[in-house]
Symmetry: C2
Subunit: 397 residues, 2 copies
């Protein structure tokens, strides 16, 4: 039945596909899975935090009691009781969030894709932080926007710059709590100013918040969502507080936008697995996260401190770093003449890895920056790895 | 903290989003979930076929033995052993399929979205059947192609028409086995001719095959994939042979295209849940589908026959219908003057539902057509519903 000698295929990709490339991080991770490498390159949460037995019990219960429903096609907007739970958890006294403002997605990454799909035309202006989350830049790039980087400092973006550059933009993407990649937190007064600036411009403000619950010092700062529920698009995820492999996140937005996102999601993958949503609801509905999240905070906070101590001990003058109040990452700035991409090759030869900073910039990259994750490496290995890196960097001075 | 009197938001959607709309079928389904309605409108498989206990045992086993891996982020291309299983199941003596040609996706719908994303520019010519699967038209529409309908007859599309209209097209989308919506099957000689015609044009040929296993008369016809593995893109799914709610499908294509699709998937949702893939592999790896699929075939085949018998008994002359050799649907053609969209309102008032045919046409619709599903309605209800419909149609003649 097979054709003999068919003409070899010349694949013609779409313009958007031609600029797609694999994430630098995913490429680096392939190298650093070797067990002998001390890797600060990962963006993965620690599997030590996964409540495996509790998830298993919930799968058992949901499949025993509602198996046929859980395994059938489900609604595009998501599982009702979970959307209600999310709406309630995000409501404040003066800013109530309704379940119909919640769209369940297959991980936050899908939320980023859908938002760009419905809000961005080719050449549309999209405002991002300097630096910004790489996965967001990747997701948005597919729709070929013009990225505009909002200037910032060690506390995050500068809201007073937004009015000047935000005119006519389609959205502003921010990650205010323990940002990936820098670990920095946007202060309260900047949140208020940013919400105001965007509202004045009629500019949709995306508040991506995967790490908000992982605060090392009590509750995180107020959400921008609750400052202006009519103008802020909030994104949450179960990846960092339960497990990432189930691929479950959510977008919260005003209803007209949610309906449009729902249509886009229907065309993209019909809906997110009903079973997963029912299981997560079963796991969290009676307050499990209130006991579970503090154990994650403790683990990450201790490892963060171990890294900060090691940096202090082993790193030469001329290198600076952020001191995160939560999350999974910190950010290093090396002397200007050191290119972290080149440094990585030597580091890997030395069996220690990190992520170079350049790919996190939408426009002009600062090549002397890099990201370290402290969440999957135990304290003694953190010390060992940081000592190696410090020695390597000192040799360049 | 809440802003007082923010400016009301004027949402500006992208051009692609402006033409997005909710599926007609999903809208109809909302009406027809009322238990008193006999609904032939669904596209859902029968939950009676879901192997719930077996799935439950597999979730238990995978979570007990490999919980931390199953719940962590996973590779974008999918779970290796499952990709191997799929590659092997699709290989023939003279056309071996390799695991690296397989990309796991979150249901076939995502495969459709990714294919259009990487192959279609605005205005690109895309060839589809007459009529075609609505979910594919929806997924492709987002990328604003120019649809060209390939003429067909009761046996499916006419391959000798492709050379004339396919020049410069980016892809041809076909569903050769027990097509949704018509139930028709593309004969072997047309498959060979279609594969040849597309190869000559250098035109990627998509073979969407969600129903292939649901043949009522032995094995289905040979796959076009195996006739030209270098030019055919094959799409498969676990939705109709296991359960749809887990959202698991796959795309099989030459490696250069798979790598590009993988990059697009990474930007769209990182990867499909590792846990789901490991569970499905656990369920099927020892030949379960060989025992399970015949039970689905038997159920659907009996109900299909019940519907064909009832149509014969209750339908007036002047109405014709397809006689499917498998799958979930059959297709009715009414006298020209009857618009099935208008008929639906009266049918629902009469407590019986179907899907009007018009939305399945990419170009000029035939408004006197409609789709019936027989898989979720028991035989006595099929008889009752078809009798009502027959009476209603007879009243229009």
């Amino acid at each position: 039945m097979k054709m003999e000698h068919p003409t070899p295929m010349q694949w013609q990709f779409s313009q958007r596909a031609q600029q797609l490339q694999s994430s630098v991080i995913r490429e680096i991770l392939k190298v650093t899975v070797r067990p002998e490498v001390i890797s600060f390159a990962g963006g993965l949460p620690s599997p030590a935090t996964f409540p495996v037995e509790r998830m298993q019990a919930a799968f058992d219960k949901v499949l025993s009691q509602q198996g046929k429903v859980a395994l059938q096609y489900g609604p595009t907007d998501g599982y009702g009781p979970l959307r209600e739970w999310i709406a309630q958890s995000l409501s404040t006294a003066d800013a109530k969030i309704l379940p119909e403002q919640v769209l369940m997605v297959s991980g936050s990454q899908q939320g980023l894709d859908l938002l760009a799909k419905v809000l961005v035309d080719e050449g549309s202006k999209v405002l991002v932080e300097t630096p910004s989350y790489l996965g967001a830049l990747q997701a948005f790039s597919v729709y070929r926007p013009e990225f505009v980087s909002v200037p910032g400092d060690e506390h995050g973006l500068l809201p007073d710059q937004v009015a000047a550059i935000g005119q006519g933009a389609r959205m502003l993407y921010s990650l205010p709590n323990f940002q990936n990649p820098t670990g920095r937190t946007l202060p309260l007064e900047r949140r208020l100013a940013l919400v105001e600036a965007c509202a004045r411009l009629g500019l949709p403000l995306i508040e991506d918040d995967p790490y908000g619950a992982l605060s090392y010092r009590g509750e995180p700062l107020p959400r921008m969502l609750n400052m202006n529920p009519q103008g802020v698009i909030y994104m949450g995820s179960f990846s960092k507080v339960l497990t990432p492999g189930i691929r479950l996140g959510y977008v919260v937005a005003p209803v007209p936008l949610i309906r449009k996102l729902e249509q886009a999601k229907q065309a993209a993958d019909l809906h997110t697995a009903q079973l997963t949503q029912m299981v997560v609801h079963e796991v969290i509905k009676d307050g499990f996260l209130d006991q579970h999240i503090p154990t994650i905070r403790k683990l990450y906070s201790d490892q963060c401190q171990a890294m900060l101590d090691a940096l202090e001990e082993f790193f030469p003058a001329g290198v600076t770093w952020t001191k995160p109040a939560g999350g999974m990452f910190l950010w290093l700035t090396l002397p200007k003449h050191i290119d972290s991409m080149k440094l990585l090759d030597e580091a890997i030869a030395d069996l220690v890895a990190f992520v170079p900073g350049a790919p996190f910039y939408a426009n002009e990259a600062e090549h002397n920056t890099l990201r370290l994750s402290f969440v999957t490496v135990p304290p003694e290995k953190i010390r060992e790895g940081v000592a190696k890196l410090g020695k390597l960097i000192a040799s360049k001075l």
